[in-house]
């Protein structure tokens, strides 16, 4: 591990110096020593050790499958073996006849008890009817058809084998490119074809850009493959129904309960307060745990029907078959207008997105990419014709880097292909076209505002980390050993804090816009500082970073701040967009924490002022776990006394003292509704940046290759906890490398998934990881209260870097995001042919 990081020294958080990047000044071969935990000013910016670790290290975390209730029944889904078929008969009688089987639920019952899920799409996608179990037809292998609940896990599965379902198979559609052919099988008759959504995005003046161009580089087809992040914990729930009040308590690991609620409530025809979501620890999410609402509805219906708690565990094969694949995307007929010196003027392309069988979060992928329309480059003339179609494959849903990753892969591929066609150095083409630090904040052709950053500076740092000058020598040495060495760059953006107004570009009827997040901070009766978040963390360390922000404002130790673990919608600490997704906690979550803590600090001073007999707030300061008079520090009121006075000893306080010491703050980022006609407006608040460099060594005889060196430079503005930030960078890198080399959800022509388990879906293991050097810059966001930027998703930079490195090593143009050994072997054949 090498780390290059001069930017994390000291310094509390606070309102940032807008725009200024902190340059990196030193390099260390040693481990970044975590800061010692002691009370001092400036918790923000320190690598404080995580508060959540102690329970997790002792096996004392509470994950969804750990939750048990007396008399609970275990749910098992009967799943479709066909990719596409009519259901002609369902008979559950044999299953229900077994001792210990509590009951079943069929698609027919679901259709009678619920409405179809609300559709985000405009027509034709708007017309599909999506229920929580298959009704009348199955549309992908693994789709839930019937649910069985029994006394034990094993028995539920036994009984599910006795459920008789007759199918009348239909031809399957697995290739999105054939979805609109006249004889293509049609998934959804209600939509009258497989087209779900289409929209033309055009900004600038394409005609003049192509007229001005010295050359037009044409790329007939690029393909971004299907994969997802495969969190190690699969989905699950334990659902209890309180018959007296008609309310469900849903213990689950869904990572965006606000979204699940607005999907489930209307479908189940109940108010949202009847759906109480509870989570503690979540075993990874990466976006893949947003769309479990169909399964949760089934659990709810069965908990009510059977009058007992219902427990559902999704197993690994179930997850691979049915849950949240990442968007597979094709780019066709790409034309790039360039000058001979490598100046990029603009491009036009046709994007074709494979949504799978249902629109569970889609077609939002049809606009989310537009947050990063030009990638990191200054071209001003861009046209993208976006089409999304349905296929007989698992539904796609957000996956780390959601929809932007696909588009950034495209822009990075274009850069490297253009550089190759023009015979230019990819480094120089990037530097020539990167948006410059002095252009920040930079408005993109479609009205997004890149807040800050120094892309060229980051690239220099990345090249230094990889020892760029040594690459030619290493290539020669590899050749001596019969190997081909290649190097590639991936430069990406992690846009965070969505403006949900962008959904109106998909469907102008939608009444969503802006964003929000909630935190409450209170002083309890014995002076305990209690923080409640609206988020549903899955390993991002929210308990720790929130405590750092609170401790800085209340001037106490992080150890004195208790951040509640998990999420409970009964805590009254959530808003419509609460959850942990889309790279936003460092902005939305921590800004809410900051707002609530500042309210609390003001209230403490107000209370102390009254207790001290009318001292104004300016004359008071918070210190040493209490509040004191600046001029006479002996006049000290500990937090414990504050909490006790307000909560249990409040007689005689002034009548007009407006203090509760229980402060709720809603952070609302500054957004406008985008212009729907022009598809123009600011779609996200912050843009963290990643520049990665990969070095690969290819065995030309087999196509097998190894990533032999790697550098990752990240800039996410002010870092509250650099160690946690670096952890996210590492995780995103590892996932990208897995996706680049091995991970793929590939189907055969009949719609059978060929990689339904970790044998064939090979995720990286310890021995697969290359040496890694990390570097960091800090370009604080001028738009956020703490100077932070959302981060954690990355932009799939590792995939782009590996593709570029393989292109460099083999000399063949890489047109697919997934390059297993076999494909690299074919590239070598092509290159030598």
């Amino acid at each position: 591990m090498r780390r290059l990081d001069g930017a994390s020294k000291g310094g509390g958080v606070g309102f940032a110096d807008a725009g200024a990047s902190n340059p990196v000044t030193e390099m260390s071969e040693t481990t970044l020593a975590p800061a010692p935990v002691e009370v001092q000013k400036g918790w923000g910016g320190q690598s404080v050790r995580r508060k959540e670790d102690k329970r997790l290290l002792q096996g004392e975390g509470v994950f969804v499958d750990d939750v048990k209730r007396h008399g609970m029944g275990y749910l098992h889904f009967v799943r479709s073996p066909y990719a596409h078929a009519h259901i002609t008969r369902v008979d559950v009688s044999a299953a229900e006849a077994i001792d210990g089987v509590y009951g079943t639920l069929t698609g027919e019952e679901v259709a009678a008890l619920t409405d179809p899920f609300f559709q985000i799409s405009s027509a034709p996608g708007a017309n599909i009817k999506d229920f929580s179990l298959a009704v009348g037809k199955v549309r992908f292998v693994g789709e839930p058809v019937v649910a069985v609940v029994a006394e034990t896990r094993e028995l539920a599965r036994d009984a599910s084998e006795l459920v008789e379902v007759d199918y009348e198979p239909l031809p399957a559609l697995v290739d999105a490119r054939k979805a609109q052919e006249p004889d293509a099988p049609v998934l959804h008759d209600d939509a009258d074809g497989n087209l779900m959504w289409t929209g033309l995005y055009s900004w600038g003046d394409l005609d003049s850009a192509f007229a001005e161009a010295d050359r037009v580089v044409e790329i007939p087809e690029l393909h971004f493959h299907r994969f997802n992040s495969t969190p190690l914990e699969c989905d699950g729930a334990l659902v209890e129904y309180n018959r007296g009040v008609g309310q469900w308590t849903i213990h689950t690991n869904n990572q965006f309960p606000g979204f699940a609620a607005i999907m489930m409530g209307p479908a189940m025809k109940v108010g949202l307060d009847k759906l109480r979501f509870v989570t503690q620890d979540i075993g990874g999410g990466f976006g893949n745990k947003i769309t479990s609402h169909p399964q949760l509805v089934v659990c709810c219906l069965l908990a009510r029907k059977l009058n007992r708690p219902v427990q559902w565990t999704e197993w690994r094969t179930d997850f691979h078959l049915s849950m949240s694949h990442g968007n597979e995307r094709w780019f066709h007929d790409t034309e790039v207008a360039v000058k001979d010196d490598g100046t990029l003027l603009g491009f036009r392309t046709k994007a074709l997105d494979d949504a799978g069988a249902w629109l569970r979060y889609e077609p939002l992928g049809g606009v989310i990419w537009a947050q990063v329309t030009p990638g990191m480059y200054r071209w001003r003339h861009i046209e993208l014709d976006f089409t999304q179609v349905a296929t007989n494959k698992a539904p796609v849903s957000p996956n780390r880097g959601y929809s932007r990753m696909q588009h950034l892969w495209f822009t990075e591929r274009v850069i490297d292909i253009v550089a190759r066609e023009l015979g230019l150095d990819p480094v120089e083409v990037r530097k020539k076209n990167y948006i410059r630090a002095e252009d920040m904040p930079y408005e993109t052709p479609n009205g997004c505002v890149y807040d800050s950053g120094d892309y060229a500076g980051m690239l220099d740092l990345a090249l230094e980390l990889i020892d760029w000058g040594s690459i030619p020598g290493k290539k020669a040495a590899a050749r001596e050993r019969g190997k081909l060495l290649g190097v590639g760059i991936g430069s990406t953006l992690d846009s965070g804090t969505n403006n949900f107004g962008q959904s109106r570009l998909i469907n102008p009827e939608l009444q969503f816009s802006g964003n929000n997040e909630v935190a409450t901070v209170k002083l309890d009766i014995f002076g305990e500082i209690v923080v409640t978040l609206g988020t549903t963390p899955q390993g991002q360390g929210h308990e720790t970073t929130a405590a750092q922000v609170v401790a800085d404002i209340l001037n106490c130790s992080v150890d004195d701040v208790h951040v509640r673990a998990g999420h409970d919608s009964y805590w009254n600490s959530h808003a419509g967009f609460s959850g942990t997704y889309a790279s936003q906690f460092a902005v939305t979550g921590l800004s809410a924490v900051k707002g609530a803590t500042e309210m609390l600090a003001a209230e403490i001073k107000k209370l102390a002022g009254a207790v001290f007999g009318g001292v104004p707030p300016e004359g008071l300061e918070l210190a040493d776990g209490g509040v004191r008079i600046k001029e006479s520090p002996d006049a000290f009121l500990p937090f414990m006394a504050c909490g006790a006075i307000i909560n249990a000893n409040n007689a005689g306080l002034p009548e007009d003292l407006d203090v509760t010491l229980n402060c709720r703050y809603v952070y609302r980022p500054p957004f406008e509704v985008p212009d729907v006609e022009k598809k123009f407006g600011n779609l996200t608040l912050t843009y963290a940046t990643q520049i990665h460099v990969a070095v690969v060594e290819v065995d030309p005889e087999t196509g097998a290759y190894e990533i032999v060196d790697y550098a990752a430079v990240d800039d996410c503005g002010k870092r509250i906890n650099p160690q946690i930030v670096e952890g996210q960078v590492m995780g995103a890198t590892a996932q990208a490398l897995g996706a680049a080399v091995h991970e793929t959800y590939e189907y055969d022509e009949d719609g059978n998934l060929l990689t339904p388990n970790f044998y064939d879906y090979h995720v990286p293991h310890a021995l697969d990881m290359p040496p890694l050097a990390t570097g960091a810059l800090e370009s604080p966001s001028p738009f956020t209260p703490l100077g932070t930027k959302g981060m954690g998703e990355g932009g799939g930079a590792g995939i782009h870097a590996v593709c570029a490195a393989i292109q460099d090593a083999t000399g063949a143009i890489v047109t697919d995001s997934h390059n297993p050994y076999q494909r690299v072997w074919r590239l070598l054949q092509e290159a030598s042919a």
């Binding site: 073996p81 388990n757 044998y759």
Partner: protein
């Protein structure tokens, strides 16, 4: 998955045809047959337990003869339903007089395996199908020889 091949039997075409269309003979060629019912001359049902080293795979197999041109061509649709596995197969054979005497058979089968067995065993399905096919062909040889013996 498509498997196909050619094979020559040292027997006249009529004998081979007879064996191939006799449910009782065919039952003896299938792997792990536990029971065999003939519904009519076009529809048969077998309960089989296909021997795989790790344990047998039980299946109820319905066979329907969908096309027939005696004595040269027949086509069958076969549906297998087991717990955790479903099989759909369409198979056909064409008989002709072999140049060197005897009967030549060109056969092909389109096999689809669905369900957990299919997903778990994806990487071994083709070798397993091949190995079952070899078993069937060898048994068929035996049946033809037996028919020759009976008629001879």
């Amino acid at each position: 998955m498509n498997v196909s091949g050619e094979r020559t039997f040292e027997a006249p075409r009529a004998t081979v045809w007879q064996v191939m269309n006799d449910p009782a003979s065919m039952a003896k060629t299938m792997p792990g047959v536990q029971s065999f019912d003939v519904h009519d001359d076009r529809h048969w049902t077998a309960n089989v337990k296909i021997p795989l080293g790790l344990g047998g795979l039980k299946m109820k197999v319905d066979m329907e003869k969908v096309e027939e041109r005696e004595p040269e061509f027949a086509k069958m649709a076969i549906k297998g339903q087991g717990v955790g596995a479903m099989m759909n197969m369409e198979t056909s054979f064409t008989l002709s007089d072999a140049d060197a005497g005897g009967t030549a058979m060109a056969w092909s089968a389109e096999v689809k395996i669905l369900g957990p067995v299919g997903s778990m065993g994806q990487r071994v399905l083709q070798p397993i199908v091949n190995q079952q096919v070899q078993h069937v062909l060898a048994a068929l040889d035996g049946q033809v020889q037996e028919a020759m013996g009976n008629s001879g």
